[in-house]
Subunit: 309 residues, 2 copies
């Protein structure tokens, strides 16, 4: 039986935030801006640019305001920033941010560990953030639900808990909720089951997915999510970032590997793969080491030229 897949998938590029945040050596503002401007030329529809968290927590993104003010915004591309709280949201708005993303965990212990709040406190904070950004005219307010497919402290999270949290986030005003596999614990069967469960309460077009390739199941999880009707997928060029908790382990799925597989399946992404591979090579140069993306090494599958974007 033929696989049931969407015709078009929206790619969200998270490297400038999720990739760079974990780097030990500071990436200069100029380099960050260069990468974001290059990504803007690939055809990708949304870029997660930076995060307005305290510089003590994420020193590599201490230049968030400067980055936001320096990038060239291209028409048709959405520039999203991560905010942890109201202060972050206000700082982001001051820099002309049009779209924010807020993060909380489906696991109580991971949330405490990650953002030093209970889930209840995080939901209250999200409510405050939503009120603030809506007052300032922002339309797109995303929420990422970490550890949706498993928590390193608590193991699997009950599906009922996932569903009620996603519903709550939607009710509070989240325009998109990202089901995130924070430490690469997802498998395709769980992915299918969780999405099937969630979409009974929240429309599928409000959902997105964010997988890690920690145990090489990243693209398989994407395939499963697409079969459930998901059409928005997050990834990071080169596969940079994303909580790789073992040396040599990959973190995020690599955007160029994802786009290559999707385009091979005749799923439209609107992304120019050659330009995307050039961005991945740029990231490799910036961080000074070989990354885990495969298509950087092997090249695209087809010989045909990209369409212009």
């Amino acid at each position: 039986m033929a696989l049931q897949l969407p015709r078009r998938v929206n790619i969200v590029e998270v490297c400038p935030r999720d990739g760079f945040q974990a780097e030990v050596n500071f990436i200069s503002t100029a380099k960050k801006v260069e990468l974001i401007n290059s990504l803007s030329q690939t055809g990708v529809g949304r870029i997660e640019v930076t995060s307005f968290v305290h510089p003590r927590v994420v020193p590599n993104l201490a230049d968030a305001a400067k980055v936001m003010r320096s990038i060239q915004r291209r028409k048709g591309v959405k520039y999203r920033v991560l905010v942890p709280n109201l202060i972050g949201a206000q700082r982001a708005i001051d820099c002309g941010t049009e779209e924010i993303i807020f993060v909380l965990s489906a696991s109580e212990s991971h949330n405490l560990n990650n953002v030093k709040k209970t889930i209840k406190e995080s939901l209250e904070e999200f409510n405050t953030v939503v009120n603030c950004v809506q007052k300032n005219g922002l339309v797109d307010i995303h929420a990422a639900l970490s550890t949706t497919f498993g928590c390193p402290f608590e193991g699997k999270i009950a599906k009922n808990k996932i569903v009620s949290l996603v519903k709550r986030l939607a009710d509070l005003g989240a325009t998109q909720i990202i089901l995130a596999d924070t430490t690469g614990m997802a498998n395709p069967v769980d992915v299918a089951e969780v999405i099937e469960f969630v979409e009974q309460r929240v429309p599928i077009n409000k959902l997105a997915v964010h997988f890690h390739n920690t145990r090489d199941a990243g693209l398989s999880n994407v395939l499963s999510a697409l079969q459930q009707g998901i059409t928005t997928v997050e990834a990071s060029v080169g596969g940079l970032g994303g909580c790789p908790f073992a040396p040599g382990a990959t973190g995020n799925i690599a955007t160029e590997d994802l786009v290559n597989m999707l385009e091979e399946m005749n799923i439209d992404t609107g992304v120019n793969l050659s330009r995307l591979i050039a961005c991945a090579i740029l990231v490799e140069q910036m961080v000074g080491r070989e990354l885990h993306g495969q298509v950087i090494e092997t090249g695209r599958m087809r010989s045909k030229e990209d369409d212009c974007v």
Copy 2:
């Protein structure tokens, strides 16, 4: 909708042949035997041990006869060897081989390049080999169809051509036909379509798949194949081998990554993952470099102990 997947998948471990054949430095016979004996303890049901090709073509497997005579055969495990022609088959039988595999390509130019024969000549050779091994009492005669999902010279191969070749191999006496993605060109949609097409002429339980992770789509292709009803999958511990044609590119899918994903989906493989990871680490030591398998780095997903095998 829940994914339709088999309850049990048979793993075929190909590292000793497909992995070692590409190594530049000679792996000693003792080391090969150590790995094969260790693999025999993992619960894997079939191991591709070596290949009886001319030592000039594959110097690292020049000790095929010695390896076959030195390994400890464990009850319940099948030991398969690759033979390119009648001479190889006879040499294999002389060493007590119980199961052989023959390789030809779905692409004329790849077959000429790989085995210096036209496809017609390869089919004739296969016929001769089958007659010989059947006369010697061998029951399992496998055939691998290279470049099933694309050829580096010819691109996509027409599905009609694939189907007629698979049917011909089955008619000539192949008890299993392996659909092989020689250079990592497969994608999940093609995989589904090819298998759907083939199984109209050849029973699904006669088919197996062999994917490479060249562009990170290896496990996604497995997932697609399982959804079509395939229950036999080949892989190589550590991901060693498998025609990596770019430096840094992965070749075969790593058996431990495959088993981890399958077991996480509650698909029984009968394999003890901890022992398999130990084999992958052994291979890393033997070849003297870090391999691309992810679970070697991160460890298995669950904390539960393996069942004894």
